[in-house]
């Protein structure tokens, strides 16, 4: 009975709602659209911006996530940890336009933000910060799950061998968390690549300057260049599939070892 339910509901819905929209993009590719997009310097600039900003946002996210994992391991009852834990869930529930607005007010020009006048808004740096803001919690959650999977005795032994918490973390915990670090980075990167709302609010959508792939697709749809939008969108799908494949292969290799 259960098997039948799965067959009847899952497969058609999965094909209709997940696979079909992606295929619709591919089927709408046109030679003209591909040609026009591939010679468009703004397209390549948005690809470059996306990859550079997402890499830096993921690296920054991983760095902060490492700090959060440290608190999770050794200072779970501290106020710092409790507040950080609360804020970790915030980007998941928060509309990303709100995240963008918050960043704009905090770091934007001529605002009442405490770090206003920094000139950070509508630059590539703002794009990186926006991507980081929405992707950090994914990296933090991945690292925390990596920490939770460790044998607590490994840490206890290192402590009795003379390591204070900081030493245990950097000498033992982090080297044993290679898989979680890799997953945290890749998930942060992929979330950053897909971000649109926060990026456009804080970084803007200036072709050649702060435009990323997501905003390039948006612009092309808005200006009626649907063929070019479809080409850029398929490029995004390919990039996302590549990221997901890397993660899957790496996980399989890790599980086999």
């Amino acid at each position: 009975m259960n098997k039948e339910v799965v067959r009847i509901f899952f497969l058609p819905l999965f094909l209709l709602l997940i696979v079909f929209p992606v295929l619709a993009l591919v089927f709408n590719l046109t030679t003209e659209g591909i040609k026009a997009t591939l010679v468009d310097p703004y397209f390549w600039n948005s690809v470059k911006n996306t990859i550079i900003a997402a890499l830096l946002a993921a690296a920054l996210g991983l760095l902060l996530a490492i700090g959060f994992a440290y608190y999770h391991l050794f200072y779970r009852n501290s106020v710092v940890y409790k507040i950080a834990n609360l804020f970790n869930d915030l980007p998941i529930a928060l509309p990303h336009t709100v995240a963008g607005l918050a960043l704009l007010l905090a770091f934007g020009r001529k605002t009442c933000g405490f770090l206003g006048e920094t000139g950070a808004a509508f630059t590539l740096f703002a794009v990186i910060l926006a991507m980081f803001f929405v992707s950090y919690s994914l990296a933090a959650r991945t690292l925390v799950s990596g920490v939770d999977q460790m044998e607590p005795e490994v840490i206890d032994v290192a402590r009795t061998l003379g390591d204070h918490p900081g030493k245990v973390f950097f000498r033992i915990v982090l080297p044993l968390m290679g898989e979680a670090l890799f997953s945290g980075f890749v998930l942060g990167f992929s979330r950053s690549v897909s971000e649109f709302a926060a990026v456009i609010m804080f970084g803007g959508n200036m072709p050649g300057k702060t435009q990323v792939l997501a905003s390039y697709v948006f612009t092309k749809v808005e200006t009626g260049d649907l063929d070019m939008a479809v080409t850029a969108a398929v490029f995004c799908v390919a990039l996302s599939l590549l990221i997901v494949s890397i993660l899957t292969i790496r996980r399989q290799i890790y599980a086999a070892s």
Binding site: E153, V154, D156, V157, R159, T160, L161, G162, P175
Partner: protein
């Protein structure tokens, strides 16, 4: 010499240890208790891994109860070998020396005694369970701690292997003349390793003379718990 006095510990409403006291001189003492009796908690309190609610732990007359594990000068061999997977056997055994604990002479002596010379450059995951336990013991011994705490390190091994390893461990520990607290639920295991015995029951520790006496008390304790559960 280690003196633990009046140790109490509660986890929420559950009282695990109640005024538990134990003294260990230059001997191998087995602390025997059924699963959940609080023996591992007691050992971890001495190691500084768990904080006691009350009580004193004196190591060579110095109160160490407020010290973190890294400052206690105790060796700890946990239930699972807990080897550092990213380091080879030699790096595992010498780990304490990174923090200035132990010496190369002690390392040479211990790997000789535990017969580890041929596997020094192997990765922990390539070792059998028996060798992993030896490496875990060597790693705890090289820093030359004032007391060695062993938390059922052979519990996952079969009886035949235990029968071979425990006398080896005993002879090494005797040669090094180090006080040992060996926690186990198995009186037979205790008999193979220890000089004398104590049992832990109802959160309190009682010194016993023989492993047979320990066995009888443990049996009574199991039957009492069983009847309570009926």
């Amino acid at each position: 010499m280690l003196q633990a006095r009046g140790i109490s510990k509660c986890f929420g409403r559950l009282t695990v240890l109640q005024d538990a006291s134990l003294e260990i001189c230059n001997e191998i003492k087995a602390l025997i208790g059924i699963n959940g009796s609080g023996k591992s908690t007691f050992l971890k309190i001495i190691a500084g891994i768990i904080l006691a609610d009350n009580g004193q732990v004196l190591l060579n007359d110095k109160d160490i109860i407020g010290q973190p594990p890294e400052n206690r000068d105790v060796g700890y061999v946990p239930q699972h070998p807990a080897l550092f997977r990213h380091l080879n056997v030699k790096e595992n055994i010498l780990y304490g020396m990174r923090n200035g604990k132990g010496s190369l002479e002690a390392f040479e002596q211990i790997i000789e005694l535990l017969d580890l010379k041929d596997i020094l450059f192997k990765r922990p995951r390539t070792l059998s369970g028996g060798y992993q336990s030896r490496v875990s013991l060597a790693r705890a011994l090289v820093p030359q701690p004032k007391i060695l705490l062993m938390d059922e390190p052979l519990s996952s091994m079969d009886v035949v292997l235990k029968e071979r390893i425990l006398p080896d461990f005993r002879s090494v520990l005797k040669k090094l003349e180090i006080p040992v607290l060996y926690v186990t639920h198995d009186p037979w295991e205790a008999e193979l390793l220890a000089d004398n015995y104590a049992i832990i029951d109802n959160g309190q520790i009682k010194q016993v003379q023989t492993s047979t006496e320990a066995f009888d008390l443990i049996r009574t304790s199991i039957l009492r718990d069983f009847e309570r559960g009926q």
